[in-house]
Subunit: 446 residues, 2 copies
């Protein structure tokens, strides 16, 4: 195959599609981007989802590379750690990293608007209300439905950044020897709101991601620019308690006042909002290959993950960054860059996918566990003393740009060492007397 | 949900569909079965695949239950063990089980014909050349394309026994929260033939499954009633050597004479046959749930597996047997039987699926390993002395009807014990001095 690429089509103007379009336009390609929704920047349009996301190192790096971070930085709210809410209302703060390290709450909608405006500014051709009905992997063309008519566009190369339910991937799944998995966890989620106080301030600390960890489920809250919080209840679909078992406003109120009592000081009209807002499911998608002829998957279309590591968007942005670096390295020889892109990113996407699934257990359960918190303190101490030799897993994923797959591997070694340490008698009391040199030597020798 | 079931539709008249139709008709239901191919019993029709399968305990039990085994038994060829062919042409025989235990080579086509005739005999309505185009999970109806026209049929309950690429499953995959995985191993397969000798006899021993194990790939051969053998080359699609790397008859001949030299005494015109016959892929399908409203998956449609444990057909037949037992137990209350069917069989299908993938490594590689063969001898010795307390994994799967999931669990315990034993110095020489009581006690105490 020898690809001559001048005109690139991008399906989906979500976060990853929009950022990708900027990267590719800046490399000199003619770029046409297609989005099924109307232009979210126009008044009256809902931005689709009110969810806020956590932007961290990898995403920031990818935004900086195309000069769009300065504008993005204005809409960020730093979160320096987790604020755990006990059933008794007691608060415990656990920093995410070292002093000065934080993740950023950002509105998906507002970030998307910035990226689309930047895309337009650099000369990406924008097409809204274009729903892709059929992607031809053989002819590199797409049939779109628009409000007026159906239309087919042909490209030299097409990117599918069309999300977890990608049309392009759908076409790939039907081809021979295509590996594919869609996995739904038994939990769904529902968004709720903590409005600003009457005096117009944040109702709870704005510099933290709030968690009400309750073992099998949890409530979380991230701050918004308007001083409200978006809360998300992650909750089983079936069983007791579950979305299925709570059927009336009274049951919901009773459940919240028993389980998340302090949240009711802030969430107004829980009974009403609970039933007004939809319940959504949480899917993990794995597939391979990501490249078929001249069609390429990227972002959620290639690797949708659950949100529990706050890395879905960051991983998608990193896809763009890595692809761009490969194009740079191989002078825009797509025949060289694309196989490396899918090979490298597949391994890393699989790693962050597994980490994200595992982190749900950590967030909803372990963060309320004393032993777990002591382990975090030991690891923070090791990181403090040996900043380059012991980087806690969360920091490798969130505050570094080492490959996700390397972070996962190192994290497993660290966990084996920590398991042994945490099994020592009296460790909860004596942990400050640990010989940290010995521990570092163990990790090196692993 | 309260199901009133009188008329049952079955999609696919393959092995599992045909057997299921007999079971259900015998329970008194009106049963209509639909098959996209023409009637394989009519002259001039290809049976689709020339492949032969290995029928063993579970399948036989399911056939006996509806009184069809006597006729099937006439077309079986017993295989008492594996006959390994070394590169030097040396033969090593390894029995599958105890004296008198064997698996049975059977022609998929001939077995299917017997089952379809039996279905017809007991009053199943047969519809050939009916291709299901659309399965409505909500309305329990199916649109069929026939040579004359399109037609829609409605049922009280529909079974999808329509194989690895099931139309019914396709409809289910598109519903919310449906878990699905299709996984292709990197190997494909190609069938070849060893014809009878000029004097009309089997060219090689007919009472064995022949294997040419070569590490990353293998050739196998199963006997046919006409005294030929069907050989199957399991071979990587890519790499060296692979289906991709062998491009000319000369390359194929050279590869076979180097790698499977003795096979060329029997396979005629390898260069020609190799390129005439198709190369097929090998898929594993996992999905859940198997029941959506009044639509039910069974056999390969629910759990396609790779062929390396010889259990695909046996597992599908066991699905029918278990479902029938549940209907018996719950007096044909489908609302009780179906949830138990999918719950029990899912766990067991996952187990045999994993066992089948693992057994490829055993067949193509380990059977040529001295240590592995000694382990087999030790396990045979344990089984001989303690027939009920140590049953080798292969025997639990093949010669018993214990649940696949229990076989897998017990097999893992046994392997842990055997790993330790096989790591002892001098074990290859001293294995006959092992204290078998101690080993049995270990397994009990696990």
């Amino acid at each position: 195959m020898s690809r001559q690429v001048k005109h690139i089509g991008i399906l989906g103007a979500g976060l990853v599609g929009a950022l990708l379009s900027i990267y590719l336009r800046k490399r000199g390609y003619k770029v046409s981007m297609f989005e099924k929704r109307a232009d979210i920047r126009k008044a009256g349009n809902e931005s689709g989802r009110s969810i806020n996301l956590a932007l961290s190192r990898r995403g920031i790096k990818a935004l900086k590379e195309v000069g769009v971070f300065d504008e993005v930085s204005k809409i960020l709210l730093p979160m320096e750690g987790r604020m755990m809410h006990g059933v008794d209302g007691q608060l415990t703060f656990q920093p995410y990293g070292k002093e000065g390290q934080f993740i950023n709450s950002v509105s998906r909608g507002k970030l998307n608007e910035i990226l689309i405006s930047k895309a337009e500014e650099v000369g990406v051709e924008l097409n809204f209300e274009h729903t892709s009905k059929n992607v031809s992997l053989d002819n590199t063309h797409v049939e779109f439905a628009t409000p007026e008519k159906n239309i087919t566009h042909q490209f030299d190369l097409i990117f599918g950044s069309d999300g977890a339910f990608s049309q392009m991937r759908q076409a790939m799944v039907g081809t021979n020897r295509y590996n594919y998995e869609q996995y739904y966890i038994p939990h769904g989620y529902k968004e709720l709101t903590i409005p600003p106080t009457e005096s117009g301030d944040f109702a709870i600390a704005s510099n933290a991601l709030h968690i009400w960890p309750r073992g099998k489920y949890m409530l979380i809250a991230l701050p918004n620019l308007d001083k409200s919080f978006t809360c998300t209840l992650f909750f089983p679909f079936e069983g007791t308690p579950s979305f299925e078992s709570l059927q009336t406003p009274e049951q919901v109120s009773a459940f919240f006042s028993e389980t998340f009592p302090d949240s009711l000081e802030y969430i107004k009209n829980i009974g009403e909002e609970y039933f007004k807002n939809p319940t959504s499911s949480l899917v993990t998608i794995k597939c391979f290959p990501w490249v078929k002829n001249n069609c390429v998957l990227i972002g959620d279309a290639a690797h949708a993950i659950v949100p529990f590591y706050g890395q879905g968007m960051n991983a998608g942005f990193e896809d763009c960054f890595v692809l761009n670096k490969l194009l740079e390295e191989y002078s825009d020889d797509w025949d060289k860059a694309l196989p490396l892109y899918e090979e490298m990113r597949k391994v890393d996407a699989d790693a962050i996918s597994d980490l994200a699934l595992h982190n749900f257990v950590e967030m909803r359960d372990l963060v309320a566990d004393e032993k777990f918190l002591v382990q975090k303190k030991i690891e923070a101490m090791l990181h403090e003393k040996f900043p380059d030799q012991w980087i806690p897993l969360y920091s490798m994923v969130t505050f570094s740009d080492m490959r996700y797959s390397d972070a996962l591997k190192t994290g497993k070694k660290q966990q084996t060492i920590m398991d042994e340490i945490m099994s020592r008698p009296g460790i909860l009391e004596n942990w400050q007397q640990l010989d940290s040199h010995l521990i570092i030597d163990k990790l090196k020798a692993f």
